[in-house]
Protein backbone atom coordinates (compact mmCIF):
# COMPACT_ATOMS: atom_id res chain seq x y z
CA UNK A 1 0.00 0.00 0.00
CA UNK A 2 2.95 2.37 0.49
CA UNK A 3 3.25 3.23 -3.18
CA UNK A 4 -0.35 4.37 -3.34
CA UNK A 5 -0.08 6.26 -0.06
CA UNK A 6 2.89 8.14 -1.46
CA UNK A 7 0.92 9.02 -4.55
CA UNK A 8 -1.86 10.37 -2.36
CA UNK A 9 0.40 13.19 -1.22
CA UNK A 10 0.88 14.23 -4.82
CA UNK A 11 -2.88 14.32 -5.33
CA UNK A 12 -3.87 17.02 -7.82
CA UNK A 13 -6.25 18.63 -5.40
CA UNK A 14 -7.75 18.20 -1.94
CA UNK A 15 -11.37 18.53 -0.99
CA UNK A 16 -10.56 21.86 0.61
CA UNK A 17 -9.09 23.31 -2.59
CA UNK A 18 -11.97 21.84 -4.57
CA UNK A 19 -14.46 23.60 -2.30
CA UNK A 20 -12.45 26.80 -2.53
CA UNK A 21 -12.49 26.55 -6.32
CA UNK A 22 -16.25 26.11 -6.31
CA UNK A 23 -16.75 29.13 -4.07
CA UNK A 24 -14.44 31.18 -6.33
CA UNK A 25 -16.48 30.17 -9.38
CA UNK A 26 -19.72 31.11 -7.66
CA UNK A 27 -18.41 34.46 -6.46
CA UNK A 28 -16.89 35.19 -9.87
CA UNK A 29 -20.19 34.41 -11.60
CA UNK A 30 -22.01 36.59 -9.07
CA UNK A 31 -19.73 39.55 -9.76
CA UNK A 32 -20.06 39.05 -13.50
CA UNK A 33 -23.85 38.96 -13.17
CA UNK A 34 -23.87 42.24 -11.22
CA UNK A 35 -21.67 43.89 -13.88
CA UNK A 36 -23.82 42.57 -16.74
CA UNK A 37 -26.96 43.76 -14.98
CA UNK A 38 -25.52 47.27 -14.59
CA UNK A 39 -24.58 47.40 -18.28
CA UNK A 40 -28.03 46.03 -19.14
CA UNK A 41 -29.75 48.81 -17.21
CA UNK A 42 -27.45 51.42 -18.79
CA UNK A 43 -28.27 50.41 -22.36
CA UNK A 44 -31.50 50.84 -24.22
CA UNK A 45 -33.19 52.45 -27.22
CA UNK A 46 -33.85 55.63 -25.23
CA UNK A 47 -30.09 56.43 -25.35
CA UNK A 48 -30.05 57.89 -21.85
CA UNK A 49 -26.79 59.25 -20.51
CA UNK A 50 -24.93 57.02 -18.07
CA UNK A 51 -24.94 59.73 -15.40
CA UNK A 52 -28.70 60.20 -15.68
CA UNK A 53 -29.40 56.49 -15.28
CA UNK A 54 -27.12 56.19 -12.26
CA UNK A 55 -28.69 59.28 -10.73
CA UNK A 56 -32.15 57.84 -11.25
CA UNK A 57 -31.13 54.45 -9.85
CA UNK A 58 -29.75 56.12 -6.72
CA UNK A 59 -32.98 58.04 -6.35
CA UNK A 60 -31.42 61.49 -6.78
CA UNK A 61 -33.85 64.44 -6.84
CA UNK A 62 -32.25 65.90 -9.98
CA UNK A 63 -33.24 62.94 -12.20
CA UNK A 64 -35.91 63.84 -14.72
CA UNK A 65 -39.34 62.25 -14.53
CA UNK A 66 -38.96 60.67 -17.95
CA UNK A 67 -35.63 59.10 -17.04
CA UNK A 68 -37.15 57.76 -13.83
CA UNK A 69 -39.99 56.13 -15.75
CA UNK A 70 -37.64 54.53 -18.29
CA UNK A 71 -35.19 53.27 -15.67
CA UNK A 72 -37.62 52.19 -12.97
CA UNK A 73 -40.65 51.06 -14.95
CA UNK A 74 -39.08 49.64 -18.10
CA UNK A 75 -35.41 48.78 -17.73
CA UNK A 76 -35.31 47.53 -14.13
CA UNK A 77 -38.21 45.07 -14.49
CA UNK A 78 -36.68 43.85 -17.76
CA UNK A 79 -33.28 43.29 -16.15
CA UNK A 80 -34.71 41.56 -13.11
CA UNK A 81 -36.97 39.45 -15.31
CA UNK A 82 -33.92 38.43 -17.37
CA UNK A 83 -32.18 37.27 -14.19
CA UNK A 84 -35.25 35.45 -12.87
CA UNK A 85 -36.11 33.71 -16.13
CA UNK A 86 -32.47 32.82 -16.83
CA UNK A 87 -32.07 31.30 -13.38
CA UNK A 88 -35.38 29.43 -13.59
CA UNK A 89 -34.68 27.93 -17.02
CA UNK A 90 -31.13 26.95 -16.02
CA UNK A 91 -32.28 25.23 -12.84
CA UNK A 92 -35.04 23.48 -14.76
CA UNK A 93 -32.39 22.38 -17.28
CA UNK A 94 -30.11 20.92 -14.59
CA UNK A 95 -32.96 18.98 -13.06
CA UNK A 96 -34.23 17.75 -16.43
CA UNK A 97 -30.75 16.57 -17.48
CA UNK A 98 -30.37 14.84 -14.13
CA UNK A 99 -33.70 13.03 -13.96
CA UNK A 100 -33.59 12.02 -17.62
CA UNK A 101 -29.89 11.15 -17.49
CA UNK A 102 -29.46 12.85 -20.82
CA UNK A 103 -27.14 15.72 -21.79
CA UNK A 104 -29.53 16.84 -24.53
CA UNK A 105 -32.42 17.36 -22.14
CA UNK A 106 -33.64 20.88 -21.48
CA UNK A 107 -36.74 22.36 -19.83
CA UNK A 108 -38.40 22.09 -23.24
CA UNK A 109 -37.52 18.46 -24.01
CA UNK A 110 -40.85 17.13 -22.81
CA UNK A 111 -42.99 19.53 -24.82
CA UNK A 112 -43.53 22.23 -22.19
CA UNK A 113 -42.63 25.14 -24.46
CA UNK A 114 -44.79 23.91 -27.34
CA UNK A 115 -47.69 23.61 -24.91
CA UNK A 116 -47.08 27.12 -23.57
CA UNK A 117 -46.99 28.43 -27.12
CA UNK A 118 -50.24 26.70 -27.91
CA UNK A 119 -51.84 28.04 -24.74
CA UNK A 120 -50.86 31.59 -25.70
CA UNK A 121 -51.79 31.19 -29.37
CA UNK A 122 -55.28 29.85 -28.73
CA UNK A 123 -56.34 32.82 -26.57
CA UNK A 124 -54.70 35.31 -28.91
CA UNK A 125 -56.65 33.72 -31.77
CA UNK A 126 -60.00 33.54 -30.03
CA UNK A 127 -59.63 36.93 -28.36
CA UNK A 128 -60.89 35.36 -25.15
CA UNK A 129 -60.14 37.37 -22.04
CA UNK A 130 -60.44 36.55 -18.39
CA UNK A 131 -63.37 38.41 -16.74
CA UNK A 132 -61.00 39.88 -14.16
CA UNK A 133 -57.33 40.70 -14.65
CA UNK A 134 -57.63 40.62 -18.43
CA UNK A 135 -53.88 41.29 -18.87
CA UNK A 136 -53.22 37.89 -17.30
CA UNK A 137 -55.19 35.96 -19.94
CA UNK A 138 -52.28 34.96 -22.18
CA UNK A 139 -49.86 34.06 -19.37
CA UNK A 140 -52.50 32.10 -17.48
CA UNK A 141 -53.43 30.18 -20.61
CA UNK A 142 -49.76 29.46 -21.40
CA UNK A 143 -49.19 28.38 -17.81
CA UNK A 144 -52.23 26.13 -17.80
CA UNK A 145 -51.31 24.53 -21.14
CA UNK A 146 -47.83 23.76 -19.79
CA UNK A 147 -49.29 22.00 -16.79
CA UNK A 148 -51.68 20.08 -19.06
CA UNK A 149 -48.74 18.86 -21.15
CA UNK A 150 -46.91 17.87 -17.96
CA UNK A 151 -49.95 15.91 -16.81
CA UNK A 152 -50.09 14.23 -20.20
CA UNK A 153 -46.42 13.19 -20.07
CA UNK A 154 -46.87 12.02 -16.49
CA UNK A 155 -49.97 10.01 -17.31
CA UNK A 156 -48.35 8.35 -20.31
CA UNK A 157 -45.08 7.50 -18.53
CA UNK A 158 -46.65 6.32 -15.30
CA UNK A 159 -48.12 3.35 -17.09
CA UNK A 160 -44.59 2.13 -17.79
CA UNK A 161 -42.81 2.97 -14.57
CA UNK A 162 -41.49 6.50 -15.14
CA UNK A 163 -38.16 5.47 -16.66
CA UNK A 164 -36.24 8.19 -18.55
CA UNK A 165 -36.77 6.40 -21.88
CA UNK A 166 -40.55 6.27 -21.45
CA UNK A 167 -40.68 9.87 -20.24
CA UNK A 168 -38.68 11.10 -23.23
CA UNK A 169 -40.91 9.18 -25.65
CA UNK A 170 -44.07 10.49 -23.98
CA UNK A 171 -42.53 13.98 -23.98
CA UNK A 172 -41.67 13.87 -27.68
CA UNK A 173 -45.21 12.72 -28.47
CA UNK A 174 -46.59 15.59 -26.39
CA UNK A 175 -44.19 18.01 -28.08
CA UNK A 176 -45.42 17.02 -31.54
CA UNK A 177 -49.05 17.14 -30.46
CA UNK A 178 -48.82 20.70 -29.17
CA UNK A 179 -46.61 21.84 -32.04
CA UNK A 180 -49.23 20.62 -34.50
CA UNK A 181 -52.04 22.26 -32.55
CA UNK A 182 -50.03 25.47 -32.49
CA UNK A 183 -49.48 25.29 -36.24
CA UNK A 184 -53.20 24.77 -36.75
CA UNK A 185 -53.99 27.86 -34.69
CA UNK A 186 -51.48 29.84 -36.71
CA UNK A 187 -52.99 28.56 -39.96
CA UNK A 188 -56.44 29.66 -38.87
CA UNK A 189 -55.29 33.09 -37.72
CA UNK A 190 -55.60 36.32 -39.70
CA UNK A 191 -52.28 38.06 -40.60
CA UNK A 192 -52.52 40.55 -37.69
CA UNK A 193 -53.31 37.85 -35.15
CA UNK A 194 -50.61 35.64 -36.63
CA UNK A 195 -48.11 38.43 -36.07
CA UNK A 196 -49.16 38.72 -32.44
CA UNK A 197 -48.79 34.98 -31.97
CA UNK A 198 -45.38 34.83 -33.62
CA UNK A 199 -44.18 37.76 -31.56
CA UNK A 200 -45.25 35.98 -28.39
CA UNK A 201 -43.46 32.81 -29.48
CA UNK A 202 -40.18 34.69 -30.02
CA UNK A 203 -39.93 35.49 -26.36
CA UNK A 204 -39.33 39.07 -25.34
CA UNK A 205 -38.45 40.81 -22.10
CA UNK A 206 -40.47 43.86 -23.17
CA UNK A 207 -43.44 42.10 -21.60
CA UNK A 208 -41.78 42.30 -18.17
CA UNK A 209 -43.38 44.61 -15.62
CA UNK A 210 -43.67 45.11 -11.89
CA UNK A 211 -46.97 43.23 -12.12
CA UNK A 212 -45.69 39.95 -13.54
CA UNK A 213 -42.11 39.93 -12.21
CA UNK A 214 -43.15 39.02 -8.65
CA UNK A 215 -45.18 36.07 -9.95
CA UNK A 216 -42.27 34.55 -11.85
CA UNK A 217 -39.93 35.30 -8.97
CA UNK A 218 -42.25 33.72 -6.40
CA UNK A 219 -42.51 30.54 -8.48
CA UNK A 220 -38.71 30.41 -8.72
CA UNK A 221 -38.30 30.82 -4.96
CA UNK A 222 -40.94 28.20 -4.22
CA UNK A 223 -39.37 25.68 -6.61
CA UNK A 224 -35.84 26.23 -5.31
CA UNK A 225 -37.09 25.70 -1.77
CA UNK A 226 -38.75 22.48 -2.92
CA UNK A 227 -35.54 21.24 -4.58
CA UNK A 228 -33.15 21.96 -1.69
CA UNK A 229 -33.98 18.90 0.46
CA UNK A 230 -33.26 16.62 -2.51
CA UNK A 231 -29.86 17.97 -3.56
CA UNK A 232 -27.91 14.88 -2.47
CA UNK A 233 -30.49 12.54 -3.93
CA UNK A 234 -30.23 14.36 -7.27
CA UNK A 235 -26.46 14.00 -7.12
CA UNK A 236 -26.90 10.29 -6.39
CA UNK A 237 -29.13 9.90 -9.43
CA UNK A 238 -26.08 10.62 -11.59
CA UNK A 239 -24.78 7.17 -10.60
CA UNK A 240 -27.73 5.62 -12.44
CA UNK A 241 -31.06 4.40 -11.13
CA UNK A 242 -29.92 1.09 -9.71
CA UNK A 243 -27.01 2.49 -7.73
CA UNK A 244 -29.05 5.44 -6.50
CA UNK A 245 -31.67 2.97 -5.27
CA UNK A 246 -28.92 0.90 -3.64
CA UNK A 247 -27.88 3.81 -1.41
CA UNK A 248 -31.50 4.39 -0.42
CA UNK A 249 -33.00 6.82 -2.96
CA UNK A 250 -36.60 6.20 -3.99
CA UNK A 251 -35.82 6.87 -7.62
CA UNK A 252 -39.35 6.91 -9.03
CA UNK A 253 -40.72 9.24 -6.39
CA UNK A 254 -37.76 11.59 -6.77
CA UNK A 255 -38.24 11.66 -10.53
CA UNK A 256 -41.95 12.45 -10.26
CA UNK A 257 -41.33 15.18 -7.68
CA UNK A 258 -38.63 16.83 -9.79
CA UNK A 259 -40.69 16.51 -12.96
CA UNK A 260 -43.51 18.49 -11.34
CA UNK A 261 -41.04 21.16 -10.19
CA UNK A 262 -39.54 21.50 -13.69
CA UNK A 263 -43.03 21.89 -15.15
CA UNK A 264 -43.80 24.66 -12.65
CA UNK A 265 -40.46 26.41 -13.15
CA UNK A 266 -40.76 26.31 -16.93
CA UNK A 267 -44.37 27.42 -16.94
CA UNK A 268 -43.50 30.32 -14.62
CA UNK A 269 -40.58 31.35 -16.79
CA UNK A 270 -42.27 31.24 -20.20
CA UNK A 271 -45.80 32.35 -19.28
CA UNK A 272 -45.00 36.07 -19.30
CA UNK A 273 -42.00 36.47 -21.59
CA UNK A 274 -42.62 33.67 -24.08
CA UNK A 275 -40.36 30.78 -24.97
CA UNK A 276 -36.69 31.54 -24.66
CA UNK A 277 -34.58 28.74 -26.03
CA UNK A 278 -31.13 27.40 -25.34
CA UNK A 279 -30.51 28.90 -21.88
CA UNK A 280 -31.91 25.81 -20.19
CA UNK A 281 -29.77 23.53 -22.31
CA UNK A 282 -26.47 25.40 -22.26
CA UNK A 283 -26.28 26.95 -18.79
CA UNK A 284 -26.17 23.57 -16.97
CA UNK A 285 -23.29 22.38 -19.16
CA UNK A 286 -21.28 25.55 -18.65
CA UNK A 287 -21.88 25.40 -14.89
CA UNK A 288 -20.94 21.72 -14.76
CA UNK A 289 -17.65 22.55 -16.45
CA UNK A 290 -16.80 24.94 -13.64
CA UNK A 291 -18.03 23.23 -10.47
CA UNK A 292 -18.67 19.59 -11.37
CA UNK A 293 -21.63 17.39 -10.61
CA UNK A 294 -22.27 18.06 -6.91
CA UNK A 295 -25.71 19.67 -7.02
CA UNK A 296 -25.00 21.84 -3.99
CA UNK A 297 -22.65 23.84 -6.22
CA UNK A 298 -24.09 22.97 -9.62
CA UNK A 299 -27.56 24.35 -8.99
CA UNK A 300 -26.53 27.87 -7.88
CA UNK A 301 -23.78 27.97 -10.52
CA UNK A 302 -26.26 27.04 -13.25
CA UNK A 303 -28.73 29.64 -11.97
CA UNK A 304 -26.03 32.34 -12.10
CA UNK A 305 -24.88 31.18 -15.54
CA UNK A 306 -28.43 31.22 -16.89
CA UNK A 307 -28.95 34.71 -15.49
CA UNK A 308 -25.67 35.90 -17.03
CA UNK A 309 -26.57 34.48 -20.45
CA UNK A 310 -30.01 36.09 -20.32
CA UNK A 311 -28.63 39.43 -19.20
CA UNK A 312 -25.88 39.29 -21.83
CA UNK A 313 -28.44 38.42 -24.48
CA UNK A 314 -30.58 41.31 -23.26
CA UNK A 315 -27.68 43.73 -23.72
CA UNK A 316 -26.97 42.32 -27.16
CA UNK A 317 -30.63 42.50 -28.17
CA UNK A 318 -30.51 46.24 -27.54
CA UNK A 319 -27.19 46.80 -29.35
CA UNK A 320 -27.79 44.82 -32.56
CA UNK A 321 -30.11 47.37 -34.04
CA UNK A 322 -29.89 50.68 -32.14
CA UNK A 323 -33.19 52.30 -31.33
CA UNK A 324 -35.05 48.99 -31.11
CA UNK A 325 -35.00 45.80 -29.07
CA UNK A 326 -34.69 42.47 -30.88
CA UNK A 327 -36.74 39.75 -29.12
CA UNK A 328 -34.34 38.11 -26.66
CA UNK A 329 -35.40 34.60 -27.63
CA UNK A 330 -33.65 35.16 -30.96
CA UNK A 331 -30.43 36.29 -29.28
CA UNK A 332 -29.94 33.70 -26.51
CA UNK A 333 -28.81 30.94 -28.85
CA UNK A 334 -26.46 33.25 -30.71
CA UNK A 335 -24.77 34.05 -27.41
CA UNK A 336 -25.02 30.60 -25.82
CA UNK A 337 -23.59 28.51 -28.63
CA UNK A 338 -20.08 30.04 -28.67
CA UNK A 339 -19.93 29.61 -24.88
CA UNK A 340 -20.74 25.94 -25.21
CA UNK A 341 -18.32 25.39 -28.07
CA UNK A 342 -15.55 27.08 -26.11
CA UNK A 343 -16.20 24.84 -23.18
CA UNK A 344 -16.25 21.68 -25.27
CA UNK A 345 -13.01 22.58 -27.02
CA UNK A 346 -11.07 23.94 -24.05
CA UNK A 347 -12.50 21.92 -21.18
CA UNK A 348 -9.99 19.39 -19.88
CA UNK A 349 -12.46 17.65 -17.68
CA UNK A 350 -15.19 15.50 -19.15
CA UNK A 351 -18.29 16.91 -17.61
CA UNK A 352 -20.91 14.62 -19.03
Amino acid sequence: MTAESGAAEAAPTSYRTLSARRVTSLVGAGVLLVLCTLVDILTGPAMLGMGDVVKSLLGAQSASAMTNVIVWDIRLPMSLMAITVGAALAIAGVIMQTILGNPLASPYTLGFSAAAGFGAAIVILTGFTLPILAWLTVPVSAFAATLVSAALVYGLSRARGMTPEVMILAGIATLFLFQSLQSMVQYLASPEVLQAIVFWLFGSLLKASWDNLPVTFAILVFCVAAILPDLWRLTALRMGDERAAAVGVNVTRLRVRMFVIVALLTAGAVAFVGTIGFVGLVAPHIARGFVGEDQRALLPMAALTGAIIMTGASILSKLISPGSVIPIGIVTAVLGVPFLFGLIVMGKRRYW
Binding site: S14, E242, A246, E293, D294
Partner: protein, 252 residues
Protein backbone atom coordinates in the same frame (compact mmCIF):
# COMPACT_ATOMS: atom_id res chain seq x y z
CA UNK B 1 -26.44 -9.27 12.27
CA UNK B 2 -27.73 -12.51 10.80
CA UNK B 3 -30.20 -12.77 7.96
CA UNK B 4 -32.53 -15.67 7.24
CA UNK B 5 -35.24 -16.42 4.72
CA UNK B 6 -38.16 -18.82 4.78
CA UNK B 7 -39.67 -20.16 1.55
CA UNK B 8 -38.58 -17.12 -0.42
CA UNK B 9 -40.00 -16.96 -3.94
CA UNK B 10 -38.95 -14.37 -6.50
CA UNK B 11 -40.92 -13.63 -9.67
CA UNK B 12 -40.04 -11.53 -12.67
CA UNK B 13 -43.45 -10.77 -14.12
CA UNK B 14 -45.04 -14.12 -14.94
CA UNK B 15 -41.70 -15.91 -14.65
CA UNK B 16 -40.64 -17.60 -11.42
CA UNK B 17 -36.91 -17.06 -10.99
CA UNK B 18 -36.38 -18.73 -7.64
CA UNK B 19 -38.73 -20.62 -5.38
CA UNK B 20 -38.63 -21.96 -1.84
CA UNK B 21 -35.27 -20.55 -0.85
CA UNK B 22 -34.67 -20.98 2.87
CA UNK B 23 -31.36 -19.53 3.88
CA UNK B 24 -29.46 -18.82 7.03
CA UNK B 25 -26.73 -16.21 6.72
CA UNK B 26 -24.63 -16.02 9.86
CA UNK B 27 -23.11 -12.83 11.22
CA UNK B 28 -19.33 -12.72 11.15
CA UNK B 29 -19.27 -15.00 8.12
CA UNK B 30 -18.67 -14.58 4.42
CA UNK B 31 -21.20 -16.49 2.34
CA UNK B 32 -20.50 -17.25 -1.29
CA UNK B 33 -23.48 -17.34 -3.64
CA UNK B 34 -22.74 -19.48 -6.68
CA UNK B 35 -24.63 -20.89 -9.64
CA UNK B 36 -24.72 -20.66 -13.41
CA UNK B 37 -25.51 -17.44 -15.33
CA UNK B 38 -29.14 -16.45 -15.09
CA UNK B 39 -29.95 -18.72 -12.16
CA UNK B 40 -31.12 -15.81 -10.01
CA UNK B 41 -28.14 -14.79 -7.89
CA UNK B 42 -28.63 -11.08 -8.53
CA UNK B 43 -32.40 -11.36 -8.07
CA UNK B 44 -31.87 -13.04 -4.71
CA UNK B 45 -29.44 -10.33 -3.57
CA UNK B 46 -31.84 -7.59 -4.65
CA UNK B 47 -34.70 -9.24 -2.81
CA UNK B 48 -32.56 -9.60 0.31
CA UNK B 49 -31.62 -5.92 0.01
CA UNK B 50 -35.29 -4.93 -0.10
CA UNK B 51 -35.00 -3.53 -3.61
CA UNK B 52 -37.10 -6.12 -5.42
CA UNK B 53 -40.40 -7.72 -4.42
CA UNK B 54 -40.44 -11.29 -3.11
CA UNK B 55 -42.81 -13.71 -1.43
CA UNK B 56 -41.97 -15.51 1.79
CA UNK B 57 -40.32 -14.09 4.87
CA UNK B 58 -36.98 -12.46 5.43
CA UNK B 59 -35.81 -11.94 8.98
CA UNK B 60 -32.81 -10.12 10.41
CA UNK B 61 -31.66 -11.33 13.84
CA UNK B 62 -34.79 -13.46 13.86
CA UNK B 63 -37.10 -10.46 13.60
CA UNK B 64 -39.15 -10.31 10.45
CA UNK B 65 -38.50 -7.11 8.51
CA UNK B 66 -40.18 -5.25 5.68
CA UNK B 67 -38.27 -4.28 2.55
CA UNK B 68 -38.04 -0.67 3.72
CA UNK B 69 -36.70 -1.65 7.14
CA UNK B 70 -34.06 -3.87 5.56
CA UNK B 71 -32.85 -1.10 3.29
CA UNK B 72 -31.56 0.79 6.33
CA UNK B 73 -29.31 -1.96 7.65
CA UNK B 74 -28.19 -3.49 4.37
CA UNK B 75 -25.62 -2.26 1.90
CA UNK B 76 -26.06 -3.70 -1.57
CA UNK B 77 -23.60 -3.30 -4.40
CA UNK B 78 -25.09 -3.91 -7.86
CA UNK B 79 -23.16 -5.86 -10.41
CA UNK B 80 -22.53 -3.59 -13.35
CA UNK B 81 -19.88 -0.95 -12.90
CA UNK B 82 -19.35 -0.26 -16.57
CA UNK B 83 -21.23 3.02 -16.74
CA UNK B 84 -19.03 5.99 -16.00
CA UNK B 85 -20.28 9.25 -14.60
CA UNK B 86 -18.95 12.71 -14.00
CA UNK B 87 -19.13 12.24 -10.25
CA UNK B 88 -15.77 12.11 -8.51
CA UNK B 89 -14.67 8.99 -6.62
CA UNK B 90 -14.92 10.91 -3.36
CA UNK B 91 -18.46 12.03 -4.14
CA UNK B 92 -19.50 8.47 -4.96
CA UNK B 93 -18.22 7.08 -1.66
CA UNK B 94 -19.71 10.01 0.25
CA UNK B 95 -23.12 9.22 -1.24
CA UNK B 96 -23.04 5.92 0.66
CA UNK B 97 -24.27 7.91 3.66
CA UNK B 98 -26.74 9.97 1.67
CA UNK B 99 -29.39 9.86 4.37
CA UNK B 100 -27.24 11.62 6.94
CA UNK B 101 -25.53 14.14 4.67
CA UNK B 102 -26.29 17.77 5.40
CA UNK B 103 -25.64 20.75 3.18
CA UNK B 104 -22.23 21.18 4.77
CA UNK B 105 -19.96 18.15 4.76
CA UNK B 106 -17.54 18.10 7.68
CA UNK B 107 -13.82 17.49 7.26
CA UNK B 108 -14.05 14.37 9.46
CA UNK B 109 -16.41 12.77 6.94
CA UNK B 110 -14.07 13.69 4.06
CA UNK B 111 -11.14 12.22 5.99
CA UNK B 112 -13.09 8.99 6.55
CA UNK B 113 -13.88 8.72 2.83
CA UNK B 114 -10.26 9.35 1.88
CA UNK B 115 -9.05 6.73 4.37
CA UNK B 116 -11.42 4.21 2.82
CA UNK B 117 -10.28 5.10 -0.70
CA UNK B 118 -6.71 4.73 0.52
CA UNK B 119 -7.46 1.18 1.71
CA UNK B 120 -8.16 0.27 -1.90
CA UNK B 121 -5.25 2.27 -3.32
CA UNK B 122 -7.49 4.97 -4.76
CA UNK B 123 -6.61 7.94 -2.57
CA UNK B 124 -4.67 9.67 -5.33
CA UNK B 125 -7.75 9.47 -7.56
CA UNK B 126 -10.28 10.94 -5.06
CA UNK B 127 -11.05 13.93 -7.24
CA UNK B 128 -10.98 12.18 -10.57
CA UNK B 129 -14.33 11.53 -12.18
CA UNK B 130 -15.64 7.99 -12.47
CA UNK B 131 -15.38 8.00 -16.24
CA UNK B 132 -11.70 8.92 -16.02
CA UNK B 133 -10.68 5.78 -14.12
CA UNK B 134 -10.61 2.11 -15.09
CA UNK B 135 -13.45 -0.38 -14.72
CA UNK B 136 -11.66 -2.11 -11.85
CA UNK B 137 -11.11 1.18 -10.06
CA UNK B 138 -14.80 1.98 -10.48
CA UNK B 139 -15.67 -1.37 -8.97
CA UNK B 140 -13.42 -0.71 -5.97
CA UNK B 141 -15.00 2.73 -5.58
CA UNK B 142 -18.50 1.26 -5.42
CA UNK B 143 -17.26 -1.34 -2.95
CA UNK B 144 -15.86 1.48 -0.82
CA UNK B 145 -19.27 3.17 -1.06
CA UNK B 146 -21.00 0.03 0.22
CA UNK B 147 -18.52 -0.24 3.11
CA UNK B 148 -18.95 3.48 3.89
CA UNK B 149 -22.60 2.81 4.64
CA UNK B 150 -21.38 0.83 7.68
CA UNK B 151 -24.01 -1.84 7.08
CA UNK B 152 -24.97 -4.69 9.39
CA UNK B 153 -25.42 -6.87 6.34
CA UNK B 154 -23.35 -6.53 3.18
CA UNK B 155 -24.59 -7.90 -0.14
CA UNK B 156 -22.18 -7.80 -3.08
CA UNK B 157 -22.89 -8.80 -6.64
CA UNK B 158 -19.67 -9.98 -8.30
CA UNK B 159 -17.46 -7.41 -6.57
CA UNK B 160 -14.28 -8.79 -8.12
CA UNK B 161 -15.39 -9.29 -11.72
CA UNK B 162 -13.23 -6.49 -13.13
CA UNK B 163 -10.33 -6.76 -10.71
CA UNK B 164 -6.76 -7.95 -11.15
CA UNK B 165 -5.59 -10.91 -9.06
CA UNK B 166 -4.01 -8.81 -6.34
CA UNK B 167 -7.12 -6.69 -5.90
CA UNK B 168 -9.31 -9.82 -5.87
CA UNK B 169 -7.32 -11.07 -2.89
CA UNK B 170 -7.33 -7.62 -1.29
CA UNK B 171 -11.12 -7.40 -1.55
CA UNK B 172 -11.75 -10.83 -0.10
CA UNK B 173 -9.24 -10.34 2.70
CA UNK B 174 -10.95 -7.03 3.50
CA UNK B 175 -14.39 -8.66 3.46
CA UNK B 176 -13.34 -11.51 5.73
CA UNK B 177 -11.74 -9.13 8.19
CA UNK B 178 -14.80 -6.89 8.10
CA UNK B 179 -17.14 -9.80 8.77
CA UNK B 180 -15.05 -10.93 11.75
CA UNK B 181 -14.29 -7.52 13.25
CA UNK B 182 -17.67 -5.85 12.82
CA UNK B 183 -19.69 -9.03 13.13
CA UNK B 184 -21.65 -8.44 9.96
CA UNK B 185 -23.01 -10.97 7.50
CA UNK B 186 -21.35 -10.70 4.09
CA UNK B 187 -22.91 -12.31 1.02
CA UNK B 188 -20.98 -12.38 -2.22
CA UNK B 189 -22.28 -13.59 -5.57
CA UNK B 190 -19.32 -14.82 -7.59
CA UNK B 191 -18.13 -17.20 -10.27
CA UNK B 192 -14.58 -17.86 -9.15
CA UNK B 193 -14.79 -21.20 -7.37
CA UNK B 194 -11.21 -21.02 -6.10
CA UNK B 195 -11.90 -17.71 -4.37
CA UNK B 196 -15.13 -19.22 -3.06
CA UNK B 197 -13.27 -22.19 -1.61
CA UNK B 198 -10.53 -20.03 -0.18
CA UNK B 199 -12.49 -17.20 1.42
CA UNK B 200 -16.09 -18.23 2.05
CA UNK B 201 -17.20 -19.72 5.35
CA UNK B 202 -20.40 -20.90 3.76
CA UNK B 203 -21.43 -21.56 0.18
CA UNK B 204 -24.95 -21.34 -1.19
CA UNK B 205 -25.40 -23.00 -4.57
CA UNK B 206 -28.40 -22.13 -6.76
CA UNK B 207 -29.49 -24.36 -9.61
CA UNK B 208 -32.63 -24.62 -11.74
CA UNK B 209 -34.68 -22.10 -9.80
CA UNK B 210 -33.96 -23.64 -6.41
CA UNK B 211 -31.36 -23.71 -3.71
CA UNK B 212 -29.31 -26.77 -4.47
CA UNK B 213 -27.09 -26.79 -1.40
CA UNK B 214 -25.84 -24.66 1.46
CA UNK B 215 -22.98 -25.41 3.79
CA UNK B 216 -19.22 -25.27 4.24
CA UNK B 217 -17.21 -25.12 0.98
CA UNK B 218 -15.89 -28.67 1.27
CA UNK B 219 -19.46 -30.01 1.49
CA UNK B 220 -20.95 -27.93 -1.29
CA UNK B 221 -18.08 -27.80 -3.78
CA UNK B 222 -18.00 -31.43 -4.77
CA UNK B 223 -17.04 -32.95 -8.07
CA UNK B 224 -20.53 -34.34 -8.62
CA UNK B 225 -22.32 -31.11 -7.86
CA UNK B 226 -20.07 -29.00 -10.07
CA UNK B 227 -20.64 -31.46 -12.90
CA UNK B 228 -24.41 -31.31 -12.36
CA UNK B 229 -24.74 -27.55 -11.74
CA UNK B 230 -22.17 -26.10 -14.10
CA UNK B 231 -21.49 -28.99 -16.46
CA UNK B 232 -17.77 -28.96 -15.78
CA UNK B 233 -15.29 -31.62 -14.88
CA UNK B 234 -13.32 -30.24 -11.97
CA UNK B 235 -10.24 -31.41 -10.14
CA UNK B 236 -10.72 -30.83 -6.43
CA UNK B 237 -7.88 -31.26 -4.00
CA UNK B 238 -7.79 -30.57 -0.32
CA UNK B 239 -4.97 -30.35 2.17
CA UNK B 240 -4.76 -29.03 5.68
CA UNK B 241 -2.36 -26.23 4.80
CA UNK B 242 -3.82 -24.69 1.67
CA UNK B 243 -7.44 -25.77 2.11
CA UNK B 244 -9.70 -26.59 -0.80
CA UNK B 245 -8.34 -26.11 -4.33
CA UNK B 246 -10.50 -26.26 -7.41
CA UNK B 247 -9.31 -26.45 -10.97
CA UNK B 248 -11.94 -26.66 -13.68
CA UNK B 249 -10.62 -28.97 -16.40
CA UNK B 250 -13.11 -29.00 -19.25
CA UNK B 251 -16.77 -28.66 -20.10
CA UNK B 252 -18.86 -31.82 -20.20
Amino acid sequence: MSLSTQNLTINHGPLTVLSDVSLDLQEGQVTGLIGPNGVGKSSLLKALAGLAPSKGTIAANETQMTDAQRRDIVAYMPQDSSAGSSLTLLEVVLLGRINSLGFRVGQDLIDAVEALLDDFGLAHLSHRTLDAVSGGQRQLTYLAQALFREPRILLLDEPTAALDLRNQLLVFETLRKLARDKNIAVVVALHDLSLTAQFCDQVVCLCNGRMDAAGPPEDVLTKDRLARVYGIAADITSDSEKGLRIAALHAI
